[in-house]
Each structure stands twice: as C-alpha cells, then as structure tokens.
C-alpha cells in the first residue's frame, strides 16, 4: 500500500512536471509592468543667459559637459560655410594657452574636448573634470584665430568639398535641402568652393564675436558630480563669459510645391538611386497633434515593422531599408520618406512609396497597428527614461521649448490618448503626398526612361541644386562621322597613317597568368594579311593559329584543324597588317558611354570596336563567337596602357574576358620590321 502511494505520488509529480513544461506555441506573456521613474535634473541660470542643467549619476567615475548655443539659424549667403570654418577653428589656442599645449593637455588627461559653431563638448574621468572644464571654458571664452590656422583650415575644407563631389549621399543631402528649404534659407544653403574662398579671417573673428555668445546657451553637466561643487565651479568659469547682441535676420518661410513632382539629380557613378519624398511642415514638440504624427509616422515608416519597410524590403526586396521621418523644428520642420534602391526598380519604388503615403492619408490604420506603434514608443520611453543622458535631454527640451514641467511625466498618457482618427488627421496634415518633392539622385541613363512613365512631372537639377536640362540619354552620332573618319582619327592618335603603313612585319610577346599558370602569347604578322598566333604554357605550345595569306589552320595541343571557311574568308578579305585599317569598311553603330566617357562604336563582321571620341584611341572590342556547344558568347577585350614603339602607340595591357576567365595580357615586347620570317606562317 505504502509503495503504491509513493508510486502514485511519483506519477502525480511526474505529470506535474510535464504540465509545468512551457508551451512553445504560445508567445510568453509579459510580467508586471516596471515602474517608471523619471530621472532627476537640477537647473540654474547665470546672469549672462546660460541655463545650466545638472544630472547626477555615480555609476561610473566620469563626467561630461555639453554646451549648446540655441541661436536662431543664420543665413550665411555669399560666405556660406562661415559658421563651420569658425567652429573648426575653435580650440586652436586661446589668449591663455597655445594650441599645442591645449591639445597636449587634453590628450594627456585621456579626455575629449570638441568645439563646433554652436556649442562644445567635453568628457573625462571624474578626477580630471575640473581641469577639463576649465580648458573647455577657456576655449569658449578666449578663442584666438591666427592666419596660419585659418589658411590651413580653408585648404582642408576645399579639399573636403572636392572629396565629396562624387559622394552620392553627400550630393543627395545637400540638393534635397536646397530644394526643400530653398537656397535662400539657412537650412538650404551649403558651402561651395566659391563661398569658402570668399571668407576672410576677419569674417571668422566677427562671426565669433557676434554669435558665439552665452545669451541663448545651455550647459548640460552629467555624471559623477556633486551638484553643489559643480554649481560653484560652473559659476566661476562661465560667469565671466560676456553677453552680446546677437544680430537678427528675416528668414523666408519655405513653401511646398503646388503639385507633387520628381526632381532628378544625375550622378553617373550611382549604382543605387536615393529617393526622398519630402514636404515642409509646421511642427514643434509643443503641438497638440505631436503625438498623433509620431504614431502615424511610426506606422508608415518608423522601422522594420512599418509599412514602407514591409512593402519595399520584405515583400519586394527593392531596398535594404525604407523609412519615413518627421522632424520637429521651431524654424523649419519636415516630413521625409526615403529609400535607396537599385537602379532598375527606381520607378517601381517611387510608385510604392507614394502608394503607402496616400494610403495612410485616405484609409484609417487598424487598431492593432496603432496599439503596436504605441507599445513601441512606450517601451522605448520606459527603457530610456532612467538613463542620465535621457534625464538631461528632457530637462534641456523643457527649458528650450518652454514645455510644462510635467511634459515627460505625461508622455505615456499622451501617447495612449491618440485615436485612429487622430492618426489619420495627422497623416493628412503632415504627409503631403499631393504637394511633395520626390527628389531622386541616381544614374539618369539607366533610370529616367522608366521614371518618365510615372504620373509625375520631372525637372532636373545639377549637383549644386540649380535647375538644369535633362541629362543626355543617348548620344546623336555627329554628322559626317564615318568608319573611315573614326579610323583616320585613330591612326592620327597613334602616330600617323604614314608611319603605320610603313609596318611590314610585326611581332609582339605578351604574358598573362590564369589560375596561377603563366601564359605567353606571341603574335606575328606580315603584310598584307599573314598572321600567326601562339599561346604557350611553360615553353610548350598550347594553342596556335596560322594564316599564310591563302589558307590557314589552328592547332590545339598538337591537334591540327583547317581553318573554317567563314574565318578563312574574313582573313582573306583583310588588306592591312594593323587590324583597324580593315575596319574602314565597317559601319558606325552608335555613340555609347563607357565608364562615363563617350565612345564611337564601329561594327565590323562579328565585332564591335569602341573608339574614345575625345582621344581617338581604341579602348575596347567585343567579338561574338560560338562556344563548342553552339551558343553565342560575347568576348570583350579591353585595350589600355598605350605606349610608343618606333613612334607608334600600341596598347600594352590587353584584357580579354571570356566567361569566368579573365586574361590580363601585359605586352612585354613589340618588334616592328624585324624578327618575322615567311617560314613562320607555314
């Protein structure tokens, strides 16, 4: 009996453990919601206008200080870039310390201090912080500007501008801004070579004097601090920073276009099109519908679960990511939906982006979508709210935007209060699908044809954001261009027809490696059309083809075959030792851009030969041949590295691509009128 009970108990416990096992098919339920505690910040002001925010956190022995000068944006006009130049010259010496000593001190303390046109940042271990903050304050208050540093910086900025001229992201960004805000707006202008060259050292000094002032500044100190001591330290270091009168400007308000349109910027090196659908909006943190637009944007394009990403990436695989963003700003706010897509699908991606924008405006989102969006915001809020950096940012926003002190305490309630209708209202108001610019930076020749099939009017802009004409899509063949004129230009370019015609025999040796095996190719020719081509591997002749003027054969590993009739006919028809002379009987097919350079393409028999329009040199030929199983394959040969031999230019690098094999021949030697004998062609 007793044993039975034990057995029964054992069975019960066993089944109990089975029951206790988790059920994988059901998603686990969350535990009780964690308590949200807002981080604390202390605030005080100095007479010169600085608001100081302090957040105490002792987890790590380090402190950071951030200065943010909140002046209205400045339109820099003909000296655009002045604020950046000034900003980058800060920290290069003060009236108390030389640049080298300043840098040496900062690095020695293992600290960081950076300056910009509208602020500064410093961080260090707690033990060095007073010294580091003093260095930062000195750099802020007593900056000196020398001619030497100024000249050097201008040089670097100019090279930087040059370096960015082919950078697609860089060009796209600046033109998007120029179009969205207008080039007469601080957010739309950008530095150019011309504007940078106009800037003088005096301009820099006066910009510093006028704008780098404490009037609208915030200083945020965060980390392992004692607030009492820090207040004292800050007051000592920053009270002496003198207030000024900051110049005011009237800035034009950016306006939206009347009808949605495509603005195209041609970048011939682009392998992807950068698409941005942009419109201006009025939106600040203070607005009532701020939360509704945040959630509407979250549903449209706020990340991996949003509609744009799901549609353009997960469903259609057009892009690595598609997103949208609303940027609140007191001076000029924007809505922007973006994707970088491969050239081929540019038009389809535009259609899908616009479809999603239109859909969220005209069709209510589902309750599930809204709940999920709210959960994301609340979850992120909960996770971040206790971080010292968050506490500092919240305090800064409250001060900067004049928000009520309970703004962030009410955050979760405000998010939760947004309804489906609020989301739609916000989408209609802020996502102006009907008055948007679709700015596309990409390779015109590959994407425009299809873009023209969309419903939108297309206008063209250059990389500076100025209106321009449509890029050339195909190039007209200039009048009076014939195969003969192209060849004549070629002959002239390589040294002149007279010299070329004096070639009676030609011998060239070239080497290449394929799968680490060295190959040697020897070509011999004799006027008018005798030829021999030999490829040998380690001294053994591997392949050979010979034409003696009347008949010919080819040999592969010693197996000889007579030349097929068609090839024979072609060889017999040749009249010149230099192949190109034979092409005068070909025809001009088209003008084609090869690596951004225009070429004239001549068709001759089964080959197309490309001559650079400008230099006249032959850069490429593509021959169609048959594979052993009868398929047509195109074999491109690229000619480069032209060097003179007896006064005539010959390409010394010949790159032949045949399927997966890439044979790069380096010409070792070319001999003219020597080393070739009649017996060679037997």
């Amino acid at each position: 009996m007793r044993t039975q009970i034990i057995l029964l108990l054992a069975i019960i416990t066993m089944s109990f453990t089975v029951n206790a096992q988790i059920d994988r098919s059901v998603m686990p339920k969350p535990g009780p919601a964690p308590k949200v505690k807002l981080g604390k910040a202390k605030r005080f002001g100095l007479k010169n206008g600085i608001t100081v925010i302090m957040v105490e956190n002792h987890k790590l022995p380090r402190v950071s200080a951030r200065l943010s000068i909140d002046n209205p944006p400045v339109f820099e006009e003909d000296i655009a870039g002045i604020s950046d130049v000034m900003g980058s010259l800060l920290g290069r010496g003060t009236s108390n310390i030389s640049k080298d000593n300043f840098n040496e001190k900062v690095d020695y303390l293992g600290a960081r201090i950076n300056f910009s046109s509208h602020g500064a940042f410093a961080s260090s271990l707690t033990k060095y912080f007073p010294e580091v903050l003093q260095l930062m304050a000195d750099g802020i208050k007593n900056a000196t500007f020398t001619k030497e540093e100024f000249d050097k910086e201008i040089k670097i900025i100019l090279d930087g501008i040059k370096a960015g001229e082919k950078n697609i992201d860089n060009i796209a960004n600046r033109v998007e801004n120029a179009l969205t805000y207008g080039k007469k707006h601080p957010f739309g202008e950008f530095a150019s070579k011309e504007s940078i060259l106009k800037i003088t050292l005096e301009d820099v000094k006066s910009f510093y004097k006028n704008y780098y002032k404490p009037n609208n500044a915030y200083l945020i100190i965060e980390g392992d601090i004692d607030t009492k001591k820090t207040k004292k330290l800050v007051t000592t270091l920053f009270s002496t920073w003198k207030k000024g009168t900051i110049p005011t400007q009237n800035i034009v308000t950016p306006t939206n276009v009347q009808n949605t349109q495509i603005n195209f910027i041609d970048m011939p090196n682009a392998v992807q099109s950068k698409i941005a659908v942009i419109n201006n909006i009025n939106l600040t943190l203070k607005d009532k519908d701020y939360y509704a637009v945040l959630l509407a944007n979250q549903i449209l394009g706020g990340g991996g679960t949003a509609r744009l990403f799901q549609n353009l990436r997960e469903d259609k695989a057009y892009t690595y990511g598609a997103y949208s963003k609303v940027t609140q700003n007191r001076h000029a706010a924007t809505f922007k939906a973006t994707a970088s897509v491969r050239n081929m699908v540019t038009d389809s991606a535009v259609v899908e982006l616009m479809k999603e924008i239109t859909k969220i405006r005209y069709k209510k989102v589902s309750a599930e979508e809204l709940t999920n969006a709210k959960e994301k915001y609340i979850g992120n809020f909960v996770m971040n709210v206790q971080k010292p950096k968050t506490a500092a940012n919240y305090a800064l926003n409250i001060a900067k935007y004049g928000l009520p002190d309970n703004f962030y305490a009410n955050y979760i309630n405000n998010i939760n209060a947004v309804t489906i209708n609020d989301v739609q209202d916000a989408a209609i108001k802020y996502f102006k699908g009907n008055k948007a610019r679709i700015v596309i930076t990409g390779k015109g020749i590959e994407v425009l044809k299809n873009l023209e099939k969309t419903d939108y009017n297309i206008t063209y802009f250059n990389t500076k954001g100025n209106s321009t004409t449509k890029p050339e899509m195909s190039f007209p063949i200039p009048k009076e261009t014939t195969a003969k004129s192209v060849i004549n230009k070629y002959l002239k370019a390589i040294g002149g027809k007279d010299k070329v015609l004096q070639i009676k025999t030609l011998k060239s040796t070239a080497t290449a490696t394929v799968q680490e095996t060295p190959l040697v190719m020897t070509v011999k020719k004799a006027a008018p059309n005798k030829s021999l081509q030999e490829i040998s591997v380690m001294g053994q002749i591997f392949q050979k083809s010979v034409f003696n003027g009347k008949t010919g054969y080819s040999e592969l590993r010693g197996q000889r075959k007579p030349m097929p009739a068609t090839d024979l006919k072609l060889e017999q028809s040749k009249q010149y030792i230099i192949d190109d002379l034979n092409y005068t009987s070909g025809e001009v097919l088209r003008i084609e851009a090869v690596n951004g350079q225009k070429t004239i393409v001549i068709g001759y028999n089964k080959s197309e030969i490309y001559y650079n329009m400008e230099s006249g040199l032959k850069i490429k030929s593509v021959t169609t041949t048959k594979t052993p199983d009868g398929k047509d394959v195109k074999v491109p040969t690229i000619f480069s590295n032209y060097k003179k031999v007896n006064g005539i230019l010959f390409p010394h690098t010949i790159d032949i691509k045949s399927g997966p094999i890439d044979l790069k021949f380096k010409v070792q030697e070319i001999k003219i009128n020597e080393g070739v004998f009649t017996t060679d062609f037997e």
């Binding site: 994988r24 998603m27 686990p28 969350p30 535990g31 009780p32 919601a33 964690p34 308590k35 949200v36 790590l60 022995p61 380090r62 080298d100 840098n103 690095d107 020695y108 293992g110 600290a111 260090s124 271990l125 050097k152 040089k155 670097i156 090279d159 370096a163 960015g164 082919k166 950078n167 697609i168 011939p268 090196n269 682009a270 392998v271 992807q272 991996g304 679960t305 990403f309 799901q310 990436r313 997960e314 469903d315 695989a317 057009y318 892009t319 690595y320 970088s340 491969r342 999920n372 959960e375 994301k376 979850g379 992120n380 909960v382 996770m383 971040n384 206790q386 690596n595 951004g596 350079q597």
Partner: protein
C-alpha cells in the same frame, strides 16, 4: 611630479572597483554557454546570442553565407510566422538587430525588463527550429545585394579593406569580405543553407547572455525551460590555413569610382587579437593617431599640412590582425611623400623609446577608454559574449585593462620592430577611378 603619480596610484584601484562588471556563467547540458549580468538601475533587459560562426567559416565558393544567414534567421520559426519577428519585438516596446563579422554572428533583443521571457522564447525558437525556405532565400538575396550597393558600391573609400585583405591574406579566409561575392550567393541552394544551419547553429556553438534588470534565480529557470531541450550538435572542427610570412613589400593599386582624392595605405599582417602583441599594436595606433597631439595628426595634418587625414587602424581579429596606416594627401602632395613621412615615425618608434610623458598619456587614454567601454547594458552584453566566444575568457571585461597597464615603452619599441617593417607590408595606392 612624483607626488602626482602616487596620487594616481591611490586613485586607480578605487576606479576599478567602481565599475567591476559582475557576472555569472555556466553551461547547459547541451553545451550552450550562459552568462548572466544583473544591473537593476533601469528597467531594461538584453537577451543576446553569439554564435561562433563568421565569414571565415564559409566554403571558398560560398562566401557571404554567414552574413546571409543572419538575414535568414529573422524569417520566422515553427511558432513565429514569417514576417512576425520584427512586429513582436516592436509591439512589445523592444528593439532588436544582428550583425556578422569574419569571426562571429551576434543576435540581440532589448526589451523593457518585464518582457524577459519573450526575449528568451524568441532566441530559443531561432536556434531550435527556424524556418529556412526558398521564398525567404529569394527575398533576402535581393535585400543583401541592396545592402552591398548601399554600404559598399555607392560609398567612398569603402573598398579599401577588401583590397588590403586580398593582398595580405593568400590562404586564410580573411582574404575575402564578410559580405561575400554575390555570384556565390546566387549559386547557393536551399540545401547549402540547411547544411550551414545544421553545422553551426547548435547550442554547443552558442553563448547566451542575459543582462540588465533581472532576478538571477528566475532567469536561470526560464533559460533552462527554453534552451535545455535543444539538442546538442556535432562538434565543429576548425582548421584554417596558416599564412606564410610576408618577406617582400607588396605593391598594389585599387580604384574607387566614388572618390576624388586618393589615399595611400600601408598595411601589415599582425597576430591574433588574443595576443599581448596585438594590444601593444593597439597602443601604437593610439600613439600615432588618436587625438590632436598624436604623432601622425600633428605632423602630417597640423604642422606640415600635407595630409587631409592620416591615421592608424589596428583591426584585430581572432586569427590575425590587419594593421593599417593611411593618409589622404592635401593639395598636390605625392602619395610617396606621405609614405616617407609615416615611415619616419615608425622608424622612430622602432629605434627610440617613446617619451615617458607620451607613455603616461597612453595609459591615461586607455584608462578612460576602459571606463567608457561598459556604459550601457547593451554594450556589456556584447562584450561579455565576445570575450567568451573569441578570447575564451569572459573576465577579460574586467582584466584586459591590466594587460594594457603592463605594456612598457620597451614593449612598444620591440613590437614595432617585430611587425612594422617595410618588407612585411602592402603599399596600396587607392585611386579615383576615371570615368
């Protein structure tokens, strides 16, 4: 000065104690390694898994597989439908992502701490029974190609590392890129992917980290519930080819259509990041290029004004390192000139000891870096996993600084002498591609 040092010495131990990362680690029966780190300061929890598989584990004709696989493992599992993964994370207020290097693949979720079980469920689903199907393969094939276009083909200076590695490595798989060759991915069949999963995605090749606002006992119970049942896999044998030493300078050129200003690169093959020498090289690169008073910046950019940028990068990896010195010429400066100037500084390090002050500066910088290394739970989780998987010593998160502290001026000279010689390197001219 002496007094000051003493003061420093008194301070140091305090600073270490102030930030010691406490953790607990153990193995499950199936060989999965578990690391727990409790920090209740904020209601956040990180669940992450690092798999010891990266681009170097790929077949030579299937490069890009490891990274591609990272994409595939978001496609769904037996209990998580295709397309639901991101939605579950986001609608629970979380964030997630993953990344792949040559050495390892890392997946993580960050949730409000009451969603810990959800994170564990998701990671266990991914390991136990992911759904790997043709449709997912097809979609992600295009997505990965877009990623390559976005991050590499359309970006300036993005091909330099590829070109450096191609020349420095002849046999070891570090010769390729993490993103791999697109034609390899096109040729990969569903069976290739299934085999890859079976070989590498096994608990005995995985390290689970749970960090943040957790209760240790409850967390252990949940981990056991979700992960113990996953069957152990076959032991993985790794046998990577060793490289022969470079004995003659390699000269090469590479072209980039997205740049206007060329760059000159001197690159050296260096030992594994696990070695002390690799850390010494870290210090040398800091000496050369970190901060405005650093040697290369000060000389080339600031004083002589011949470079737009100059620097040193010590890219340390599990089997080898790649040490790169680079410069972008300013104005009409010749690339050769930059090499000569950089070489002079290297020779100085090789023949003279760096000053005591410079050495102390390096120590201060590394101390600062150490304090700043473990500021977020996300960062701590990643470091714990990395130190275990790649270094085999989780506690390096606390003790690696001691290795740096022990590096002397003589070490710096000797290591520079040992590795940074002209006949051991590649000189790569990185030039604008003419269009």
């Amino acid at each position: 000065m002496k007094k000051y040092r003493l003061l420093l010495l008194l301070w140091l131990p305090l600073a270490i104690n102030a930030q010691k990362v406490e953790f607990e680690e153990y193995d499950l029966n199936n060989g999965m390694h578990v690391i727990l780190h409790q920090d209740n300061a904020a209601p956040v929890v990180v669940t992450s898994v690092m798999y010891h598989v990266g681009a170097k584990d790929e077949q030579p004709n299937r490069t890009g597989m490891a990274h591609f696989f990272e994409h595939l493992l978001f496609e769904g599992t037996k209990n998580i439908k295709k397309g639901e993964w991101f939605k579950i994370v986001s609608s629970n207020g979380g964030k997630n992502n993953a990344n792949t290097t040559d050495d390892r693949t890392y997946y993580y979720e960050i949730f409000p701490s009451n969603k810990l079980e959800l994170g564990l469920w998701m990671e266990s689903e991914r390991l136990l029974h992911p759904i790997i199907g043709q449709k997912g393969v097809d979609t992600q094939n295009e997505v990965v190609k877009e990623e390559k276009r976005l991050r590499i083909d359309n970006q300036p200076y993005s091909r330099f590392l590829e070109n450096v590695k191609k020349h420095l490595f002849k046999k070891h798989p570090y010769k390729g890129t993490t993103i791999g060759k697109m034609e390899h991915l096109d040729n990969a069949t569903l069976n290739d992917f299934l085999a890859f999963n079976k070989k590498f995605y096994i608990p005995n090749n995985a390290t689970l980290v749970v960090a943040g606002d957790i209760n240790i006992a409850n967390t252990k119970k949940m981990i056991s519930d979700y992960f113990e049942e996953i069957p152990k896999g076959k032991e993985i044998k790794r046998n990577f080819s060793k490289e022969a030493p470079i004995t003659q300078q390699i000269n090469a050129k590479a072209y980039d259509p997205n740049i206007q200003i060329p760059a000159i690169i001197a690159a050296y093959r260096t030992p594994s990041m696990k070695t002390r020498d690799s850390r010494v090289l870290d210090m040398i690169s800091t000496y050369l290029s970190s901060g405005k008073s650093s040697v290369l910046y000060k000389k080339l950019v600031d004083t002589k004004k011949i470079a737009l940028q100059a620097g040193a990068i010590n890219l340390s990896q599990e089997d080898y390192g790649t040490y790169v010195l680079y410069g972008l010429p300013l104005g009409d400066t010749k690339l050769d000139t930059l090499v000569k100037e950089i070489d002079q500084e290297i020779q100085k390090i090789q023949t003279e000891l760096i000053s005591e002050k410079a050495h102390q500066k390096l120590q201060n910088k590394f101390e600062n870096r150490f304090v700043n290394a473990n500021t977020s739970v996300e960062g701590i989780a990643n470091s714990l996993a990395r130190y275990h998987v790649l270094f085999g010593d989780t506690n390096l998160i606390n003790t690696e600084i001691n290795i740096y502290r022990s590096i002397t001026r003589e070490d710096i000279r000797n290591v520079a002498k040992k590795y940074l010689n002209p006949n051991q390197r590649l000189i790569l001219e990185y030039l604008p591609e003419k269009k």
